[in-house]
């Protein structure tokens, strides 16, 4: 009876006969909830940490990717410009070879003229020796 009266007044006794405001069951549940909440918070904290490192890693990766991307673009451009460079180099070399060709042609003409002269002189010597 006394218990009921107390309960009506919002007071309860627990197993250890201590006076309580909450019902022992609710109390129990509250405590459980508290425990669970704590667990939950810990877990969330862990999660956040894990996610944080993940983001960091991903960030790093993205940076790397960005870098590589730039590199790729750079090398692609370089490749393009090298083609152009080659072209101009080729042009230069062509100009130089055509110059050399002209020189060669000049020397060839000179050589042929000399051969011709040699022939003529040999012919002359032959005639000269035959006459005697």
């Amino acid at each position: 009876m006394a218990d009921e009266a107390l309960a009506r007044a919002g007071l309860h006794f627990d197993e250890l006969n201590k006076i309580r405001v909450l019902e022992p069951e609710t109390q129990q549940q509250t405590l459980e909830l508290k425990e669970e909440c704590k667990d939950f918070v810990d877990k969330i904290g862990d999660f956040q940490k894990i996610v944080g490192t993940f983001i960091e890693v991903v960030d790093n990766v993205s940076k790397e990717v960005e870098k590589e991307k730039m590199k790729a673009i750079g090398s692609r451009n370089l490749l393009k410009s090298i083609a152009k460079q080659r072209e101009s180099q080729q042009q230069q070399l062509q100009a130089l070879t055509s110059e050399k060709k002209m020189q060669l042609e000049r020397l060839r003409i000179q050589y042929e003229a000399l051969l011709k002269e040699e022939r003529e002189q040999k012919e002359f010597i032959e005639q000269f020796t035959l006459q005697k």
Binding site: Q91, Q92, A95, L96, E99, M102, E105, R106, L107, I109, Q110, A113, L114, K116, E117, E120, Q121, F124, Q131
Partner: protein, 784 residues
């Protein structure tokens, strides 16, 4: 020949270099869009800033005051004109102080050039105007006003006309106000650059059509280059006019004056906006579009003479190779090599301070002497000595390094002499005048004094090219002249008393060369290669002139070939595209010449008999007739079937008096005046009179007879005979006058003539080998 280019690792200018200019071959200046004018010391490889221009001044062109014109006034030669985009030009002195800035054009001033004498300079601008300024920067005149920007200007050789670009055209405008300008369409694109060389009088131009062209002053194209990859942005002649450089994007080309290119370099300089040669013509500086200043040296110049080959391998080194035994000599020099010449068994090398003379027999110990002015522009050699030309004058040195003489005349301009306008032989120097191109000055090579009466040889037209023969005695020196019409004339250098007789040998002559060992003359003319085996023939017997010539088709030498050398029986020709071609002529004329020089007439005859060639016989006939070698002449004329001349010579041989024989020989050569002069000088009045009678030269015959008071009746007698034979009446007043007083008695005349011949015969025995003392003796007798 090629260029050795030199650029800095890092450009010294941060912006495009727009102009370059030399003061000495060691000092270069460059102006760029970074507003700096830098001074380059090539000895120490140092670069210093001469002047920092205001921020709104972008230089476009720079030209140093011509040193040759400065004369004694040193202060003036340390000045340059700098043009800029703000329409001004600035006179800047060597210390970098801007002495004067003058507003010259609307828009940018694109070019500024001093005249060769330094009395004026010309500027050309974007506004299309070409203006002439005095030395102090006062406007003299606006030469022309065009609708298009004028990109390039150049002065004419005499500083009396200006060449400028006008769109696709080139224009030459004289300073004289009313003179009509010469203009011609030069390029397919806009003409960007021009240059005009005072020495060879040729013009080069380059434009946006990526070609460069060589022109003469009449606007005829001498060379048209192939199309380059980029527009031609700069051009420059060497001071001596033998080479020019062409600049384009990453391109530097070295070309011969004929236009063909010696070499091509691809320096990494961007477009070469300006090119400038140092005064000695060995280095060229280029203003690079990427801030580089290019400095290039001409190396690997190669000379050939007989079996020797000299190559300049570096700035201070020459390799000489003897082709016969493959021996190579390496010659080292203290200074830069400026000019070299290899001929007549000697190699002459002029460096910037000294002259080295090597004999081909000894390469170890050259003769060395110091040069007054280290700017030799020309070396010409003859067998005994050689000629050096620098800005100040002409010097003749012997091969042992002794100064022989230094010929000069008033108004001489040594700086513009070239191979065409000066010639040397063992005893004579000939120089074509610049002020009056008809005039050729001749000097004795031993003492540098003008020859004869000091009067120069004056041709009737402008002389383009001269050449002296190299052999034989000094009195028979001949000068070959090519005039404006490209006609070839031969004229004696030394004349005594008589008039100078020059004869035309040929026309349309492109180039000529005398032989180095005998007086043979070769020329390229009108598609033919011609050799005059004995050019003197025209003074001996004009009938033989065409018979002593060797002609050959020159089609194998291409268009416009150039004769380089004529050594022995070997001819070296340069084709228009630059290849060297050699050919040979028969060796016989050369041998014949050597026999005749040494007086071995019998050997000469034997040679001709062996060869059996009419040309050779003709040469011998002319040579022997000239030498008055009657026996040989008789044989030679007989061999070429000139019966009447043989007859004539036989008659001459019967004449007992030497002078009379000489006179008859002169007649054979067709010079009656000479014949008469010889006779009169020897006192052979009768023969002189008879000579004129035989030539129907009646007035002169009578004049002589009357003057010397002999044989008047003889003259009258012959005159009567002549009149009756031709059934004519006497109408000559002088004869009528003398007819009256004198009776013609043929018996008397014949007796008198017989007496004359008798007198001649009675002279002391004068055979064909008469000594020099005898004629004088006989002369005394006749005058008695």
């Amino acid at each position: 020949m090629r260029m050795k280019t030199n650029i800095q690792r890092e450009p010294k200018h941060s912006e495009l270099v727009s102009c370059v200019g030399w003061t000495t071959p060691e000092e270069l200046f460059s102006g760029a869009d970074d507003h700096l004018v830098l001074k380059w010391n090539l000895n120490s490889n140092e670069t210093t800033t001469l002047v920092k221009l205001p921020d709104d001044v972008f230089p476009t062109d720079m030209h140093w005051f011509p040193k040759a014109a400065g004369g004694g006034k040193k202060a003036v030669s340390d000045l340059f004109v700098l043009t800029s985009t703000d329409g001004k030009f600035h006179l800047v002195n060597k210390t970098g102080r801007v002495e004067k800035s003058v507003e010259a054009h609307k828009g940018a001033v694109l070019a500024g050039r001093w005249s060769f004498d330094g009395s004026a300079f010309v500027t050309a601008g974007e506004d299309g105007a070409v203006k002439i300024w005095s030395r102090s920067g006062m406007l003299r005149s606006t030469l022309t006003q065009n609708s298009m920007s004028v990109y390039g200007v150049a002065w004419g050789p005499d500083s009396d006309s200006v060449l400028f670009t006008n769109g696709k055209q080139l224009v030459i405008k004289s300073m004289q106000a009313n003179a009509k300008p010469t203009m011609w369409r030069a390029h397919e694109g806009v003409v960007l650059v021009v240059d005009w060389n005072p020495v060879n009088n040729l013009i080069i131009s380059g434009g946006e059509d990526c070609r460069y062209k060589v022109w003469d002053t009449y606007g005829r194209v001498m060379y048209n280059s192939f199309q380059h990859d980029y527009p031609i942005t700069s051009l420059a002649w060497t001071p001596d006019g033998e080479l020019f450089a062409v600049g384009s994007f990453n391109t530097l080309r070295l070309c011969d004056q004929a236009g063909w290119s010696y070499s091509l370099e691809k320096p990494n300089t961007g477009s070469l906006f300006k090119l400038a040669w140092s005064s000695d013509g060995t280095q060229v500086a280029g203003a690079g579009g990427n801030g580089q200043v290019l400095i290039a040296h001409v190396i690997e110049k190669r000379l050939e003479w007989k079996n020797f080959e000299a190559t300049v391998t570096g700035g201070k080194q020459i390799h000489v190779r003897n082709v016969i035994n493959d021996a190579v000599e390496s010659l080292e020099f203290r200074d830069r090599i400026i000019k070299l010449s290899l001929e007549f068994n000697h190699l002459v090398v002029a460096t910037s301070t000294q002259c080295y003379i090597y004999s081909v027999k000894n390469w170890n110990t050259p003769m060395i002497f110091d040069l007054k002015e280290g700017n030799v522009s020309l070396i010409l050699q003859s067998e005994k000595h050689f000629l050096l030309v620098d800005n100040a004058g002409i010097y003749v040195f012997s091969y042992d390094g002794r100064l022989v003489c230094s010929p000069r005349y008033t108004g001489m301009r040594a700086d513009i002499l070239n191979y065409q306008t000066v010639s040397i032989s063992n005893d004579t120097i000939a120089i074509r005048d610049k002020a009056n191109e008809k005039v050729v000055y001749v000097f004795d090579a031993q003492n540098g004094k003008p020859l004869g009466d000091g009067k120069p040889i004056t041709h009737k037209l402008d002389v383009m090219e001269i050449a002296l023969d190299q052999c034989g005695p000094a009195t028979e020196r001949r000068l070959a002249i090519i005039d404006k019409n490209r006609d070839l004339y031969l004229t004696p250098v030394r004349v005594f008393g008589t008039e100078r007789k020059s004869y035309k040998l040929g026309n349309m002559i492109q180039s000529l060369a005398w032989n180095d060992a005998s007086n043979m003359l070769s020329a390229l003319a009108d598609g033919k290669f011609t050799v005059w085996y004995y050019p003197n023939t025209i003074y001996v017997d004009r009938d033989l002139a065409t018979k002593t010539i060797f002609e050959k088709e020159a089609s194998e030498f291409g268009k416009n070939p150039q004769l380089l050398q004529f050594n022995g029986n070997h001819v070296i020709i340069r084709r228009a595209e630059g290849s060297i071609v050699s050919t040979s002529i028969s060796p016989h004329p050369c041998i014949l010449h050597s026999y005749v020089y040494s007086g071995r007439w019998n050997d000469a005859v034997r040679l001709c008999r062996f060869v059996k060639d009419e040309v050779l016989w003709s040469c011998l006939a002319a040579m022997s007739a000239y030498a008055k070698e009657l026996n040989t002449a008789e044989i030679a004329y007989a061999a070429i079937k000139e019966a009447e001349k043989v007859q004539f010579i036989v008659n001459i041989k019967d004449i007992p008096v030497k002078e009379a024989r000489n006179a008859e020989m002169a007649l054979l050569c067709g010079s009656q005046q000479d014949a008469e002069a010889i006779l009169l000088q020897a006192g052979l009045i009768f023969r002189a009179i008879m000579l004129n009678i035989q030539l129907y030269n009646w007035d002169r015959a009578l004049e002589l007879a009357v003057k010397h008071k002999t044989h008047v009746d003889t003259v009258l007698g012959y005159r009567q005979k002549y009149l009756t034979r031709f059934e004519k009446k006497e109408n000559n007043k002088r004869y009528l006058q003398y007819m009256e007083g004198i009776e013609v008695d043929w018996e008397k005349i014949e007796a008198k003539m017989e007496m004359e011949y008798q007198k001649e015969r009675e002279r002391p025995t004068v055979t064909s080998t008469a000594g020099s003392a005898k004629p004088r003796q006989s002369r005394q007798e006749t005058t008695k």
